[in-house]
């Protein structure tokens, strides 16, 4: 059975797969293109059932708690505007954060890429351990440390990093990779988890059942001794307040509190885009994040700390500010919009493609709709054979992600923009199909501000064409390459470019976006 995901394909000149694409190994880049990886995922019935149940459950919970707030749209507007402020004022906000953290006894480090961040963290761990200490650190789930492959880096240096989130523990013990930003073990069901625990946890009770409560208690026992004895903890951060130097970790299980409170040394690795200007901005984001992510009115635990508090919690605090492609993304209008993401995972749960293919098919620690935008932005796309080139096509452009996004990232428009660039970059193609012609036309239009403005006006005609159904079901060639297999949604009233211009001024005199070949 094959599933058509709407991704234009062409035969590759040589074999592909592990290592054959000659691209560097990275937690941000898979070895297999999305359609190939998705085909095997979609063929896995168990995985599909788990994912279907999980995403449907979170979707319903999210919808219920979002519906409770009559000011939800106003909160989204505020969230989106705060993030725009952050991007526009990033240098001064980072310097302010650094000054505040330093004034409160913390140490701030700057890491240009994954390698530098890993080196800094490994050095800090080494320095914190006394001779005779176990060479280990406890970790609280963090996308940033996954992105840089920190656990693997530390392991190579003989330092064991223990993941302490239940889901991350399941993933780590199962020798697996996370499949969802928020529920990384969403692809495992209870009996699989029981088997992993019995096999990998020496202290698991022999009569362990597959009841979720029993499994959670086994994990509690397993990790408790680690928490009580750990010297070093490594975390990410959900937010960093520039004004006060305060960092925030939002969690459920209490493993975050354990890591942030009990060890002597705390090392936090954070992407530079996680800033909020003021403490008061928390009133927006502490409403947007829990409702969007776990579908709760509030997550069980949120910890906020500022530098070092004498006599309370870790007495050594290090903050590692991570670039790793973010400044590249920032220079590009698509990338900058994607950096607004607060990693709530709402867009994953509402995405029909994600629901069927699962997170692993995206080949990156950032899966789903936002991953399809962010991953190629952080790493760049290195020609058509780069698996990341297929990511912008991993979407049906249905728009559900945009509606769900708490900071109003217009993911479908960003994906369309990236598709144009992928096709344009693919210069050595042999047989141009209708798709390529259509996309090259789109790309030609998009590469010039004037041509694009003219095309935007033409899109208004598309709204007329779409009519009452708000769908366009047939278009003349070459655009029929799209409409033969699905309906084209009615063009939006305002395009991404029009909004960008309205919010950021003219794009015509802006520097050429980073991903553009010309």
């Amino acid at each position: 059975m094959t599933t058509f995901l709407g991704i234009p394909r062409r035969s590759r000149p040589s074999g592909h797969g592990m290592g054959h694409n000659g691209l560097p190994d990275s937690p941000l880049r898979g070895h297999t293109s999305f359609p190939d990886a998705a085909r095997s995922a979609v063929g896995n019935t168990q995985l599909r059932r788990n994912l279907g149940n999980a995403t449907a459950t979170i979707r319903a919970k999210r919808a219920a708690v979002v519906g409770e707030l009559d000011d939800w749209e106003a909160l989204r507007d505020a969230g989106s505007a705060v993030k725009q402020q952050v991007m526009a004022r990033l240098p001064e906000l980072l310097e302010q954060l650094e000054a505040q953290v330093t004034a409160r006894g913390g140490v701030v480090h700057w890491a240009a890429d994954a390698d530098e961040a890993n080196r800094i963290v490994a050095g800090l761990v080494e320095n914190s351990l006394q001779p005779g200490d176990a060479r280990e650190a406890v970790k609280v789930k963090s996308m940033a440390t996954q992105e840089i492959g920190l656990n693997e880096y530390l392991e190579e240096r003989g330092i064991e990093a223990f993941e302490t989130d239940l889901a991350e523990l399941i993933v780590q013990l199962g020798g697996d990779t996370p499949s969802h930003i928020l529920v990384p073990a969403i692809h495992r069901n209870r009996s699989e988890i029981r088997e992993i625990f019995l096999r990998e946890m020496p202290d698991a009770p022999a009569d362990l059942s597959d009841e979720p409560r029993r499994l959670a208690m086994a994990a509690r026992e397993h990790l408790r001794r680690k928490f009580l004895s750990a010297k070093v903890a490594i975390s990410g951060a959900n937010f960093a307040i520039a004004e006060t130097g305060t960092l925030a970790v939002v969690e459920s299980e209490g493993n975050g509190r354990m890591c942030l409170t009990l060890p002597e040394t705390l090392i936090t690795v954070m992407g530079i885009e996680k800033l909020l200007p003021t403490f008061a901005d928390l009133e927006v984001f502490l409403q947007l994040l829990p409702r969007s992510s776990t579908g709760e009115r509030m997550n069980p635990y949120t910890s906020l700390w500022t530098g070092v508090t004498p006599g309370d919690g870790p007495q050594n605090f290090h903050l590692v500010l991570l670039d790793n492609g973010r400044t590249n993304a920032l220079a590009d209008e698509v990338g900058r919009a994607a950096l607004h993401c607060i990693r709530c995972s709402a867009c994953l749960n509402v995405c029909p493609v994600y629901e069927r293919a699962g997170g692993h098919a995206y080949g990156s620690v950032y899966p789903g709709p936002i991953g399809a935008v962010l991953t190629p932005q952080l790493t760049g796309i290195d020609g058509h054979d780069d698996p990341n080139a297929s990511l912008p096509y991993a979407s049906s452009l249905c728009g559900a992600c945009f509606d769900a996004c708490p900071v109003k990232i217009d993911i479908p428009s960003l994906l369309v923009e990236l598709r144009g660039r992928v096709v344009d970059a693919d210069r050595d193609r042999t047989i141009p199909g209708g798709w390529d012609a259509a996309m090259r036309a789109a790309s030609w239009v998009m590469s010039s501000g004037k041509r694009f403005t003219a095309a935007e006006k033409a899109m208004k005609a598309g709204r007329v064409l779409a009519g009452k159904k708000h769908k366009i079901s047939s278009l003349p060639p070459p655009l029929s390459a799209w409409t033969t297999s699905r309906d084209l949604p009615e063009p939006p009233r305002q395009t991404f470019h029009q909004r960008w211009r309205a919010e950021h001024g003219s794009s015509d005199d802006a520097p050429a976006p980073g991903g553009e070949p010309r």
Binding site: M87, P212, G254, R257, L286, T294, N328
Partner: protein, 214 residues
């Protein structure tokens, strides 16, 4: 300062060069609730939310507090209090049959010590009704973060006037905490990582008891 610091800041400045001043942030969301802090409606809402998280909640008159504390502590052999706990809490705990241990900032208990203590009794800084959240800000009676984390049973005493309806009202009150550590607690610790079925009590206290004094 490091080379990467200079380079990163430089790259960011180049990336955002020419970006016009972004629009001011529209803050048209609700700042205050329908009901004033501590009003019966707000207390009722908080109780509803906490029960939903499967916390134990009781609303009491001031003179009922000692008996309620003793009652809540009955299953616990020992309880820890901060060294700046208000007299009413110390008295209530002393009157119970539970062994009382004080965590002194001058000689703090170790994590291993705390692991042998069954319960912790604290005050709180503020509570948010609409989200069922109790916030600790290391103020009087709340102690170091470790004491509310390691023992398995957390008993919190709230005054009704500490309960606000909305998140923005709470954040406004917390701005006064300066840079003290904050812990926001919405029910006992929980996980939904196994097939999304909620299990209460993973690493944090597995039982949360809230006594609200009218």
């Amino acid at each position: 300062m490091s080379r990467s610091r200079t380079a990163m800041l430089q790259r960011i400045r180049e990336a955002i060069a020419g970006t016009p001043e972004p629009a001011p942030v529209p803050r048209d969301y609700r700042h205050t609730g329908d009901h004033p802090p501590g009003s019966p409606a707000v207390v009722e809402l908080l109780v509803d939310r906490l029960v939903d998280y499967r916390a134990d909640v009781r609303v009491l008159a001031p003179d009922e507090l000692p008996a309620a504390v003793a009652d809540a502590l009955r299953p616990s052999g020992s309880v820890v209090l901060a060294d700046d706990a208000p007299a009413e809490l110390v008295d209530a705990a002393s009157a119970s049959t539970t062994q009382l241990i004080v965590d002194r900032r001058s000689a703090p208990l170790s994590a291993a010590d705390l692991d042998h203590i069954d319960a912790v009794l604290t005050t709180a800084a503020v509570a948010i009704a609409v989200t069922g959240t109790i916030v600790l800000n290391a103020g009087p009676g709340q102690g170091r973060r470790a004491i509310t984390l390691v023992p398995d049973r957390h008993l919190v005493v709230l005054r009704a006037d500490q309960i606000v309806e909305t998140v923005p009202e709470a954040i406004a009150r917390l701005e006064e905490s300066d840079t003290r550590p904050l812990t926001m607690i919405s029910g006992p610790s929980a996980t939904s990582d196994i097939e999304l079925s909620r299990v209460e009590g993973v690493h944090g206290p597995r039982t949360l008891i809230v006594l609200i004094v009218r």
